[in-house]
Every structure is written in C-alpha cells, then in structure tokens.
C-alpha cells in the first residue's frame, strides 16, 4: 500500500489545480477587468483584507477554539511575521534581481515572495514556540497575560528598530533600500500589486485546509480533550504541554504568514497596525463566528472586515429627501464605530454561541474528514 497516496487519489490534485486556476482567473478579472468584472481599487482592497483576516481567524481557531487556550496577543505574531518577511524582501532582493536577467519574471517574483513568506512563517513559529513553551505548561489564564505582554513588547521593540523604519513605518518594502543616484527597482512592487489577491486567496485556502485537517483528526481530538478536561486528557496519556505547544506554534507560524501577506500587500508597515486592538479584533472574529468552528471563523473574518467599511456607506441607503428632513442621519457614518459595536453586542446577545456554534458547513467539513468519516469534532 502506498502510504503517501493522498486522500482523494488523483482527484485531489485536479481539485487543487482547479482552485489555483480559478483564483488566477478571478485575479485577472478583478485587477485587469478581464471579462468585465474589474473591481475598483477600494473593493479589491476590502476583499483582499478579508482574505488576510481569514488566515488570521482560522489560525487562531486552532489555539482559542480547538485547544481552548486563550491567546490575546496574536497581533504580535502577525507583526513578527510581517516585519521578518518584509525585511527579507527589502534587504535580500539582490539575488532575485540578478536572476531576473536570466529567467522570466514571474517565477522569480513568485519565488521571492514565497521565500519571504516562508521566513515570516518560520519567525512567527519560533516566536510562538518561545512564548508558548514556558506558558502552556501552566493552566489557566497565564497564556492570556503572557501573549498580551508579548504583543505589546513586540510593538514597542518595532517602534525602536531604525532599519525597518521605527515609528515612521517601513516604506518601499518591495523596492529595496534607496541607493543614491539610482532609481528604485519597481518590478517586484508592480508584480505584487497585480497578484496579491491571488496569493492571499491561495494562502487563505491552504490555511483552512491545514487547520481543518489538524482540527478534525486524532491530533485535533487531543486538543479538544485538553479543552474539555485537561486532567482527564493527561490521564489518558496525552502530553498536554506538547499538544498545546504544537497547536500554538502552527497557529503562530500561519499568523506570521498572514503578516507577511499584509506587508507585501501594502508595501508598507507601521507598528501601530499591530496594537492590542488588532489582537482583540481577531479574537472577536472567531467568537462571533462560533469558537471552534472554521466556518464561523471564515464568516467572522468576513463580517468584521467588511462591516466597518460597509457602515461608511450608510448614508447612501437613505434617499436625499430623508437626509434633508433629518440632517443628523447624514452624520451617521461618523458614528459608524459606535454602530459597529452595538451590532456586535446585539449579535452576541442573540447568539451567544456565535453564528455557527461548533458546526461546520457540510461541504467544508468534507475536505477535512477521512473517507469513511463519521463526524469528528475539533
């Protein structure tokens, strides 16, 4: 028997190719308006950010949802991954620019992006290991406190590192450092501008697949056991510290990739993007969606990224006669964050278990479960 034969045999490769091709066509449509489906830069930005949020929410699900631990510092791992991968791109561009002389452009750019994202993942994962190993031994709320502290420390450190811009922010990441008397190399920056939607979509899909398959497996059941009763989990032989640390490292690495995507999408980073509020936002996404449900994390990421934007356009819902009669309605968008908060409070009162509880969309669950699969819960 071939041990490495993947789940659906040949068909899963076909599916993979179809997904990649689909994202590629969507990217062409959105960016270049091929097929007449061009999106304004604004909408393209919102949906790309939704994709990055999905990576963040889904990877946090592994820790906060599946294993029942409570990390409120994932912005720190995002920041670490973002700055690490941005630094590789910014300072390590020379070999790739040299390669451009002998190879076609897109494979070189692709390789360059992947190398940077891989570094983001590695640095995020190592940070996760350093934070997780000492704290996950302990029960209770230590992890929350330590991750909170970690997030803030990272932010303050980044504010003070000069080569990556400090408080002014890290600019022209893709162009590389400025060399007097030479114009910057724009080629990689342009490539990113035109393809980031594709890469984000691809990574988001990969993250969902990886986390889902971990969550709905023997490993995922171990995490669930720890969440439900840690003493009993240890009593049946689960190395609870090891399982929690593994989940935490995988989560932090994926969060690092999300940071890397974010850095390359904006071509700019600022430490103020990675405050405590960002961590809370990611936690809110998965609580809103239903802790432990990947479907919920996906929807939560979408809702929480789109809602604040959608509320900007609120006044357009009213015809001019209405806003003329009640002028205060015209200033509603100024209160959009208040409305946003009220909507969240309302939703959590109406559905305290989140939108999806612990359930999954059946079509999504099918990607995670083994073939003879009865349902396994993560």
């Amino acid at each position: 028997m071939n041990i490495w034969k993947p789940h659906l045999g040949g068909r899963s490769w076909l599916g993979g190719i179809a997904v990649v091709a689909g994202f590629f066509l969507l990217n062409e449509a959105f960016v270049h308006g091929v097929f007449g489906y061009g999106l304004s830069a604004y909408y393209l930005r919102v949906i790309t950010l939704v994709g990055i949020s999905m990576v963040l929410a889904v990877s946090l699900t592994l820790v906060n949802g599946c294993a029942g631990q409570f990390s409120i510092g994932h912005a720190g791992f995002m920041a670490v991954g973002a700055y690490a991968s941005a630094a590789v791109t910014h300072f390590g561009g020379a070999p790739f620019i040299a390669l451009l002389e002998i190879l076609p452009a897109w494979p070189v750019h692709t390789l360059r992006l992947w190398v940077s994202l891989a570094v983001g993942a590695a640095v995020g994962g190592v940070a996760g290991w350093l934070v997780g190993l000492p704290t996950l031994r302990l029960r209770g709320d230590y992890l929350a406190i330590v991750t909170l502290g970690f997030g803030e420390i990272i932010r303050v450190v980044l504010l003070n590192i000069e080569p990556t811009g400090g408080a002014l922010g890290f600019t022209n990441i893709a162009q590389g450092p400025e060399v007097p008397g030479r114009s910057p190399d724009q080629r990689f920056a342009l490539f990113l501008e035109e393809t980031m939607f594709f890469w984000v979509a691809l990574v988001a899909t990969g993250t969902i697949l990886v986390v889902g398959r971990l969550a709905y497996s023997s490993f995922g059941r171990s995490l669930a056991a720890i969440r439900e009763n840690e003493i009993a989990a240890a009593a049946i032989g689960i190395d609870t510290t090891r399982a929690k640390t593994t989940a935490f490292v995988v989560s932090a690495a994926l969060t690092g990739v999300a940071g890397g995507l974010y850095a390359h999408y904006d071509n700019y980073l600022n430490p103020s993007s990675f405050t405590f509020l960002r961590s809370v936002e990611i936690v809110t996404m998965i609580v809103l969606g239903g802790l432990g449900s990947l479907s919920g994390a996906i929807v939560g990421a979408g809702v929480l990224t789109i809602l604040p934007e959608a509320l900007r356009d609120l006044t357009r819902l009213f015809p001019p006669s209405v806003t003329a009669a009640a002028p205060f309605l015209a200033s509603l968008p100024d209160y959009r964050m208040v409305l946003y908060a009220l909507l969240l409070v309302g939703l959590m009162i109406a559905r305290p278990q989140g939108l999806y509880g612990r359930r999954e969309w059946p079509w999504l669950a099918r990607l995670f479960l083994t073939r003879d699969g009865e349902k396994g819960v993560g």
């Binding site: 789940h7 971990l214 023997s218 059941r221 049946i236």
Partner: protein, 263 residues
C-alpha cells in the same frame, strides 16, 4: 502454561513503598505500603477522607508523594508526568466523572486510542493512507468498546448529555481504549441504582479476564466490593488498618470499628 500463570499472578505490578502525602499540615496518606498483584482485583476501601482518591492521584502522577516510592513493574515512577504513567499502562476513572463533555461518546473513547497513532502532523495534513487507516482502526476499536458497554446507541451523543450511569460506563470504556495494564476505578458504582451496581460488579472480573487487566477498585458499596474483589486493602486516615480476603475483612474488628465507630 499454568506455572507461567502462577508466576505472573504472584508478581507485584503496582506498589507504594512507605509513601506519605502531606497537604500542608494534613497528612492524607501515611507510610503506606500497597501492593497490587498482577491479574488481581484489589479493593481499596476506607471511610470518607481516608485518602483513597489521594492514593490514586499518587499512583497516576497527579500528586507527587512527600516521601516514599511508587513502583510500576519494579521501576520507580515518582516524578513522571501523568501522561507518561498513563502511557506505561496505568489507566483510571475519576470519582467526580471527568469526561470530555462536548465530545460525543465515540470521540471520548477515540481520544484514548491516540497512543497507538503513528501518523505525524504532516501525514495528518496530507490525509495519507496511513493516517486514514489509523483513524479507521481507532474508530473500530472505540465502537467495539462502546458496544461492550451498551453505549453504541449513544455514540453520537455529547458525553455530557448521557445519563449518570452511562457516563460512568463511558469513562471505563475510555480508560480501556488505552489498552492499560492496570485499571484504577474510583467509586464506579457511585450514583448507580442497585440494579446497575449489580451488573457492574459482575462486569469487573469479566473485564479483568478479557482485557488481561489488574484492577484496583475504590468503592463504598460493600456488596460490590465483596462481590468483585479477591483481596481488600483497608485504609483509615491514610494508614493501612487491614489487608486480606473479603471474608477476613468482614470479620476484622478494626475495620468494623473504622466503619461503624466505637460502639
């Protein structure tokens, strides 16, 4: 064959050697020598607060003894983490049931099958054939165990929704899924009705035979203890007051005093 059986049944699987456990000023277990012979069903009894659960916690590594030794198959296990002791073959149930409430009955048992899982994280992500074979193997074993404890019909129900008696049985099924050498049962009949207790009593020796187990039973229901155990160890205030066969114990004046008070 017969000789071999005698040999192994005379062997001590699990033992405490002058073990003491203190909680601050309170001495919960004092200089305890407990020896569990292979293949035996040993009853561990004593009045409330005698230290029975504490002894289980020491045997499974939840507590570290203040002094003295704990040996599994002749090797000291003091200081080993609970999961390591579990992996070496000591399984237990809990006096206050500790199931994985949100997980289904089937998943509760499957979690305990993970010890035989060889597929790593990468294989899990790729859903390799080996991973799938293992998942199926775990599911089959778990289903067989549920079957045995009349729980198959409830396999998809969350553990917390089961009746008390079913929860107690599910906990035993989960412990057995580890394929342990020693099974520690902490008041498995608590909360069961007399009918269920009787069934349980009959099941205990059967389990020992079928799964080649050694069983330590903590139980207040004397009918269950006397019916299921071959040997009984009585503790009071953390100290041994008697060891012997059920008949000896029932006639032992110190035991009677411990249970009924000085009349």
């Amino acid at each position: 064959m017969v000789g071999e059986h005698r040999m192994s049944s005379a062997m001590t699987v699990l033992a405490t050697k002058s073990t003491t456990v203190r909680f601050g000023g309170l001495v919960a277990v004092k200089d305890l020598d407990l020896a569990v012979q292979a293949g035996q069903v040993l009853g561990l009894i004593g009045p409330n607060g005698a230290g029975k659960t504490t002894i289980f916690n020491v045997l499974t590594g939840v507590y570290r003894p203040t002094s003295g030794d704990v040996e599994l198959e002749g090797k000291s296990i003091v200081g080993l983490p609970p999961h390591e002791i579990a992996r070496r073959g000591v399984a237990r149930t809990f006096q206050n049931i500790r199931l994985f409430g949100e997980l289904s009955a089937l998943e509760n048992v499957m979690t305990a099958c993970h010890l035989r899982s060889r597929a790593g994280l990468l294989a899990t992500m790729l859903r390799t054939a080996r991973h799938r074979a293992e998942e199926k193997e775990q599911r089959d074993l778990a289903l067989a165990l549920l079957e045995r404890f009349d729980l198959a019909a409830h396999r998809h129900a969350p553990a917390k929704s089961l009746s008390y008696g079913n929860q107690r049985r599910l906990e035993i099924a989960r412990a057995l899924a580890m394929r342990p050498k020693v099974l520690l049962l902490d008041e498995p009949a608590a909360g069961l009705n007399p009918q269920e207790s009787l069934v349980l009593m009959r099941q205990i020796q059967q389990l020992r035979d079928d799964f080649k187990l050694t069983i330590v039973l903590v139980e207040h229901n004397m009918r269950v203890v006397m019916g299921a155990c071959e040997r009984i160890h009585v503790v009071e205030q953390g100290q041994t007051i008697a060891v012997g066969s059920p008949d000896d114990i029932q006639r032992n004046p110190r035991v009677i005093t411990a249970y009924l008070g000085n009349l």
